[in-house]
Amino acid sequence: MSTPAVLVQLDSTPSPDGPRVDAVRPVTAELITLGRTLGHVDVFTMGSPSVEALAALGALGVRTVHQAQLPTSLPVDAHRTTNSIAAIAVTVAQRIHADVLLCPTGFAAKEIAAVAAARLGAGLVTDATSLTWAGGEGDGKKVLRATKHSFGGAWNGTVDIITDPAVVTVASGAVTVEPAATPTHPEVEAVIVDPPAPKVTVLSREVKPRASDRPSLEEAAAVVAGGRGTGGDFTDVYALADALDAAVGATRDIVHDGHFDRFIGQTGVTIAPALYVAAGISGAPHHVAGIQGAGHIISIVNDPEAPIVELSNLAVLGDVAAVLPATVAAVTEAKKAAGSA
């Protein structure tokens, strides 16, 4: 097999103001880093990459940037639909004879990956945690081998995708970003893409603003989340997140009660941080489904029977309202001591 071609989507979460890509998001850098272990990496984008974005792609070893040009007859609102983005992925994948299409995790990205796989006649694995080429001995045919978690992380599975190309969505945090040994100067090539006629009318589309001084839930190395046990008061959850440079999350109950806007779990965000601190969270199946990729889990609960205790590396049994502020003070003190040492 000659060096495989790997295709990655550049603008995974499109910015609301659109046509420019100013930076390479951490999740994209993870996909490119993983892609480099499999072959040459190309990216596709709808936006025009800035000089800074091109430099970042070069540092990551990207060969070519394929910039899609959609028909002017297609309403701008229809550019970001599953239908259109899947069409771009398929057109570019066919053009470069891609062997692998890598997509990020998240509900929208998974649908794009699935529809692209359908149109390519390709096999699909979702939420992979690692990828390697396997086989290649007997008849010389290599297959893409993926690992993934199932059943709330209780099982690990290994799956071979027997088609070429193969389509994979990769769990966030599965890869540590590393620059390429040999940086590149990526070329930007225009690609004309003509998606199938849209069947859905986009009446409105809004990208929720996120606090820019805090890492996003999907990409943070540390997450502090609050559940019912906080009584909905997130002051100390924010304070501990600040002390740990962490993102803030919540359980579904807390969001439904109107105390916070994004929840971690089966129907919310899936996270895979190195450190997860659960404050006042019992560990219902819905929530646990979203934290299966977490590394170290520290829980603060008052109920020793709560399911989260069993999942934790460290479980402290106590009053969240007392433990959180004391922990904020202790962490701040420890950082100060480390800083002056």
């Binding site: 006649g121 205790v309 106590g318 007392a322």
Partner: protein
């Protein structure tokens, strides 16, 4: 209005889940209806209740469909209790081990067959299931049927003329309002509605109501050679991704449990010690 609601029979998360021959084992005593699928049934019932014409409401039907082994009847019975009028369990040796595309092909063929009697206006599913978290079958089904994809809905509204749907779609950081003519494929989140409680009359009726047992033979003529998946995609033989092995994850190290004294100091010290010990601060 005829609505097909797709149900998934999933392992009860309070029971032991396991794999055999590389596939998830779902035994009768262990399974339940995927929680969000109750929201799908509810969304279907609400659409029918929103029909302006009483005669149309009376003529409407919710058909529950599941592709599952024997225990899957339980999921269909649960849908009966909520108000589904008809239920089908599709099961066949040839379907075991189907991947996303095989599953989509079989469900599409089932929907096409149901559409022979009278047109199906919508297919509604839960946006994700707790065992796999793939969340892609509704989008694939829309692609396969050539219907609009209205997925990840947190709100579903029927147009005044009852010919189109508008949904609020929430995925990750994006909130969109989408509209499309019927028939369409919809998937709903748990925020879309609050499922009604089963009433006593329906619980009693559900006991007697039979679940139609379909096999591949029942849907054989309704596979299409389409972009997504034809009959050749079914089962292990047709899967484009094959399971090499499954293994129980190594158990987490023993939990270190620390009991606080009440003022938070003991707990805080334990947390900081842990963070320092693992280079996390």
């Amino acid at each position: 209005m005829r609505i097909v609601v797709l149900l998934k029979y999933v392992p009860d998360l309070t029971s032991e889940r396991r794999f055999a021959d590389g596939r998830a084992v779902r035994e009768a005593a262990e399974g339940v209806l995927n929680e969000i699928d109750e929201n799908a049934v509810e969304a279907a019932l609400q659409l029918i209740e929103a029909l302006p014409d009483e005669a149309d409401r009376q003529a409407s039907e919710v058909i529950a469909v599941t592709m599952a082994p024997e225990g899957g009847d339980l999921a269909v019975k649960k849908a009966f209790q909520l108000g589904a009028g008809r239920g089908i369990r599709l099961a066949d040796e040839a379907l075991v081990g189907s991947d996303y595309f095989g599953t989509t092909a079989a469900l599409a063929a089932t929907i096409r067959r149901l559409g022979e009697d009278a047109p199906i206006d919508a297919v509604i599913a839960g946006m994700t299931a707790l065992d796999g978290l793939g969340s892609v079958v509704p989008a694939l089904l829309a692609e396969e049927l050539g219907w609009p994809q209205l997925t990840h809905a947190t709100a579903v509204e029927l147009s005044a003329d009852a010919l189109a749907l508008t949904i609020t779609r929430e995925t990750d950081d994006v909130v969109a309002r989408l509209s499309a003519p019927l028939p369409a494929v919809v998937s709903v989140s748990d925020a879309a509605n609050t499922p009604r409680l089963a009433n006593f009359k329906l619980i009693m009726a559900a006991r007697k109501q039979p679940v139609e047992q379909w096999t591949v033979a029942d849907i054989e003529p309704f596979f299409e050679e389409s972009a997504v998946a034809g009959a050749d995609c079914l089962g292990v033989a047709g899967a484009r991704a094959s399971i090499v092995e499954t293994a129980q994850r190594p158990p987490r190290p023993d939990v270190n449990v620390v009991k606080d004294a009440g003022d938070g100091q003991v707990a805080a010290a334990a947390i900081v010690d842990y963070l320092k010990g693992h280079d996390l601060v």
